[in-house]
Point group: none
DNA sequence: CATGAATGAGCCTTCATTCAT
DNA sequence: CATGAATGAAGGCTCATTCAT
């Protein structure tokens, strides 16, 4: 016979939700203002939490920052992978194209008016304690992928320095639009934001780079 | 076909009046720590001046910052011009090589352990009030030169958007090593510092870009 | 004819939370030294609180100042009302006497060696942002009462300008001892401080003013 | 025979003129902003002199302030004397009227948009080192005149305390409009500024006070 | 576990004054 | 004698963090 049982009060799960709210609130602030210029009180207000909650959940402002960074990096990789199984046997040129496009998207895509990955890019220029973690856990692997793809396009044996050189030529073009955005805007250079615009830019960079790599293929 | 040749570097010295001492002391601090993180007291101490002297001579910390920026920009242009009369009738390829090399030097050259122009580059990523001035007075003109050279290399009619695209492909490669230095170092990518190293990188970027431009020359 | 009688005085105490302690500590300092000359550190020390507490509770030094002002004004009105229901049907002359006496007490009464309302009076001479609030919220209503009483004593129709004139003749005599105290002391004029002394002065001013109003009663 | 002789360069007399310019520049600033709030640099700028000139000529900011005070007090007395030989044998009532009117003028008269004697009045409320000098050298004598006139109007023997009481009743009414101006303005009380307006106010105060004194004449 | 309150360090700026030309 | 430059002392405020309910 069916017996009615009391259901445990689920609770507001406020601990987890406060934590998530803080990360969500902090992300655009850190992204647009940088670490130093972002005030913990602003984050707390925006998350409708108490200022002390930041220290409670993350130990310190930097702790929250790193949590945000990690979340962003994870999303970056998941949402815009630089390589995919579907293309594992595709032509190197196609894989490069794909890589360039997703790298661009990481940097340029906007969500709700914010550029979620801008803070990662900023870290490359103005490093905090978080960069070491980032590079070790995330970027180094991404960089290896890039060198792999670039090396395949190159199609000949190349030492590490040469691979770095070529890879950075490609990467720099992608990062540029996200990094130097304030300057580019002021110079009248249009920043691609929509998927179509980003794709068009990816085509340009890919074509430019393929030719560049081909030129490097022949020893000087 | 175009072959690459080196040029000589230039050096400067500083210190004279308190005003000059303040600028000299502030430059590396601003460059390495950024505007916010730099303390006026540290600047004054280093310049062996009173803290109030900063306000006296420059009105405010931001006034000093902008003075430093301007001084750096002026030196950048004087020391590493993107175009020179001597090359006005040279091959476009040679002029591009020259441009790339000097752009690289602006970003990478070190003087007394500091990278004097790093603060300008940082401004491109994390703008302050100073960027508007910079772009209007300095960068826009420099950018016009780049587009001119790139256009000449391209060798055919191109609208402004296309010129921007190509120019940024070249510029981004040069800026990259100055901007993303912290990341590159952690990735094991060697940052060129000596004239020879910089020249070598300039050769790579120039060759890579010449091929890239050639690829873009033919409509898709 | 009207004859004069005394009333009892009231006293208050202070100190509880930090907020209250700050107000209590700030009041005599602001009163004796003025807004500018009072140091926040002195207030905090005296209140055994941290300097930052001032900003936390009141936003700024001026915020604390206005809080003190408001507290003073409220106490002024509560402790020394210019009109009272008990006298609503009394002779106008008696109501004027009562008004004069309480106005004098507001300005002259000392508590623990301080003149708590001196800072309000000072505001009349050297206004800060707080005066607008004061006048709108407090003084204008008090002034209306005065004009009402004075008008009743006058006993005839009078336009606003004339009422102002007469009211100010009365008010000025009361304020004078609080305002010009530094000068009066140096001139050998004794400042009334005890209830008896204040009452005696009130008697003088009331008698003087009643005759003055009577003289104005007849058109020139 | 006439011989042409060189004429001595008269010099710019800049020493005396700078001194005078500083006083002229400082007067309205001190008057409107008070001692503390007035910046020496503003004075110097306005006088088209160097900041150091203030210390050179007057020893310190306070020295300049006292010089201004003295100049103002001297002018007050000369321009608006409280007693005059022409009236030495006039009726006491007429002499009181004259006194009241000139006292009012001292406080209310405006010259070039400034109230030159406001700073003296302010000193009565917020004393600086200058007040002692003022009272000893100027005010005490003026006060004696007032007591003399008031005593004559009173027409009977009166002790010093009683004379003070009556004199202050008169003086307070005059000072009031100059002292409490910021409050009066906000209360909608018109401040007399033209000679006609001031005269009208003088008539009121005199009439009011004459009746007041008459009432005091008879012992309580 | 969350909150309002409190803390202390530190920073930029202002200002009157003095120094050296 | 006058000036531009330099001085040193404070002062108010901001901010991340911690404490006590």
């Amino acid at each position: 016979m069916y017996r009615i049982r009391p259901i445990a009060a689920v609770g507001t799960d406020s601990s987890a939700s406060t934590r998530a709210a803080l990360i969500a609130a902090a992300t655009p602030l850190f992204a647009s203002d940088g670490y130093e210029a972002t005030r913990t009180r602003d984050i707390a207000d925006k998350a409708k939490a108490n200022v002390a909650a930041i220290n409670y959940h993350f130990g310190s402002k930097m702790g929250l920052y790193q949590a945000v960074m990690k979340a962003q990096a994870d999303r970056m990789i998941e949402e815009f992978p630089l390589a995919t199984d579907a293309l594992s046997s595709a032509a190197p040129e196609e894989r490069l194209h794909w890589l360039v496009r997703n790298l661009l998207r990481r940097v340029l895509v906007t969500q709700g008016g914010n550029q979620p990955t801008r803070m990662c890019v900023r870290e490359f220029v103005e490093p905090t304690e978080a960069l070491d973690y980032m590079v070790k856990e995330i970027v180094s692997h991404q960089f290896a992928i890039m060198k792999q793809v670039v090396g395949d396009v190159l199609g000949r044996k190349a030492d590490d320095d040469e691979l770095n050189l070529v890879a950075e030529s490609v990467i720099s073009q992608c990062f540029h639009y996200g990094m130097a955005e304030p300057m580019l805007t002021r110079l009248g250079v249009k920043i691609p934001r929509t998927d179509e615009e980003i794709d068009a830019l990816a085509v340009h960079i890919t074509r430019f780079s393929l030719a560049g790599i081909a030129a490097v293929r022949v020893p000087a």
